[in-house]
């Protein structure tokens, strides 16, 4: 059974600091996704990672994938308040059916 574990589940950061969110999964996967959810809002896709060593960057967020370690990281650089949200990783093993298994989510709070 595929399991996806994120840590930490809650992260309080100061503005300007760097931090990393980790996503471990238990079996081989085709692809890994990162989503963002703002309070009271729906999920928005951030990154799709396909292959070992894949790295994607958007602004202050950078996601990477190590398929051998079954690990993805979401690195936050010089955090700003606008990054406060819940971040989910999700793993797809189902090919075209796009059936995802989600982690529990990491709630990020960035404060001055």
């Amino acid at each position: 059974e595929l399991k996806v574990e994120q840590n930490p589940l809650f992260l309080s950061m100061q503005e300007g600091k760097n931090y990393t969110i980790y996503c471990n999964y238990s079996t081989t996967s085709d692809r890994l996704y990162w989503y963002r959810q703002d309070p009271g809002k729906s999920l928005e896709s951030l990154f799709v990672l396909l292959s070992n060593g894949a790295v994607k960057q958007e602004g202050r967020l950078m996601a990477s994938l190590d398929t051998k370690a079954r690990l993805s990281t979401l690195h936050i650089t010089a955090a700003v308040h606008d990054l406060s949200a819940t971040y989910f990783c999700a793993v797809d093993m189902s090919g075209g059916y796009n059936k995802l298994i989600f982690g529990a989510g990491t709630r990020l709070a960035v404060h001055p």
Binding site: V4, Q6, L9, D30, R31, Y33, K41, S42, L43, E44, S45, V48, L50, F88, A90, D92, G95, G96, Y97, N98, K99, L100, I101, F102, G103, A104, G105
Partner: protein, 116 residues
């Protein structure tokens, strides 16, 4: 832009009522999904559908059923609502495609259901 529309943002129902949650997408996606979201548990898949009239159980199908009579519409049905079904329900859709760049799930705004 892809639009996934859920019929209600908030619903309050009584125990034992039959509840319908509706979801419509406008991008001709083959795949549609229903999740429930609970604090600390992330999103858990209830049912998904990869074509009209086709459905597959997800991880937590007990107490739920679904209907997909048209490609754009996917309904979640709670046959007899119970208090432990109080939750946020999210609908999503995606293409059936092995070209991953397009294989992203797009989510609706969610329905917060309270069963009293």
């Amino acid at each position: 832009d892809v639009k996934v529309t859920q019929s209600s943002r908030y619903l309050v129902k009584r125990t034992g009522e039959k509840v319908f949650l509706e979801c419509v997408q406008d991008m001709d996606h083959e795949n549609m999904f229903w999740y429930r979201q609970d604090p600390g548990l992330g999103l858990r898949l209830i049912y998904f559908s990869y074509d009209v009239k086709m459905k597959e159980k997800g991880d937590i199908p007990e107490g739920y059923s679904v209907s997909r009579e048209k490609k754009e519409r996917f309904s979640l049905i709670l046959e007899s609502a119970s208090t432990n079904q109080t939750s946020m329900y999210l609908c999503a859709s995606s293409l059936y495609s092995d070209r991953v760049a397009k294989n992203i799930q797009y989510f609706g705004a969610g329905t917060r259901l309270s069963v009293l």
